[in-house]
Amino acid sequence: MRELSLNILDISQNSISAKATVVEVSVEENSAENTMIIKIIDNGCGMSEEMLRRVNDPFCTTRTTRKVGMGIPLFKMAAEMTGGSLEISSAVGKGTQVTAVFKTDSIDFTPLGDIDSTVITLITMNTHIDFLYRLTVDGREFVLDTKQLKEILGGVPLNEPEVVMWMKDYLKEQTQIIRGGVV
């Protein structure tokens, strides 16, 4: 994938397929340590120990339309190429947590890319799911929680064009603040 934000979109699709009702996407950058830690946490159906073991081997899938799963192996490869790692913990009926560590000073580090677009896509295409997006840069944190937005919006859906525009601007501004830029 050209951007890690595309891997994040893809790994989050697994959470959606697993019937999660709450999905947390967290990106944590630490410039002193040259690391980026990406977590995708869901409360979906989870995986058995047997399944979990197989998922760590490449090309395991429960999909029926083709025989290999590519999502997790691709994400894992992207992390390991930088000298980082990927770990999955999961419990049946409880949920799954995917944690990927990237070394940002590696020449094989893929940039995060348009993470806002990934977040907006996830939120607007799955308005029944609660998304929590957390961006942390050197200890400064920003959180977008659709549960909070839904409380404010009442019956107005999150994919209403004006709401989408507001979310895009909000994400952009808050990200700038976190990254130390001026708005």
Binding site: L9, M70, L74, T118, I120, T121, N159, P161, W166
Partner: protein, 123 residues
């Protein structure tokens, strides 16, 4: 600065509009394949393009959704257009540039862009 208060104002306005808006079913369904292969091939900006065009043109009768695998990896990004009483149209190797034309010609004016479709492969 965007604030949560602003969201309240958007809500009030949207609710007013929802009251006057008639109940309209989605007459046309646009579905974008978002399996790993689709995302890797560029489905995210294609999906965003459809959402944006539909909002810009205020097409109340059109829904844009995502799906998993459509079964033809080599032709991703794939977009399917469903319309009541008509045969499904499958667009292949879509790009944000192609989206504007599909919306204008097909979604708005009812003329599928044949050269972008899977059917054009057999010609």
């Amino acid at each position: 600065m965007k604030t949560l208060e602003e969201l309240l104002a958007i809500k009030a306005k949207a609710e007013k509009q929802m009251n006057v808006r008639e109940e309209e079913g989605a007459g046309i369904r646009v579905v974008v394949g978002m399996a790993t292969c689709g995302i890797a091939a560029g489905a995210r900006p294609v999906l965003a393009g459809f959402v944006e065009e539909v909002a810009k043109r205020n097409l109340k009768d059109v829904s844009v959704n995502q799906t998993g695998c459509i079964g033809m990896c080599q032709y991703e990004p794939i977009v399917e257009v469903f319309e009541e009483g008509k045969e499904k149209v499958t667009y292949i190797k879509m790009s944000p540039e192609k989206v504007a034309r599909v919306v204008a010609d097909h979604i708005v004016n009812g003329n599928p862009v044949v050269e972008y479709t899977v059917a054009s492969l057999n010609k």
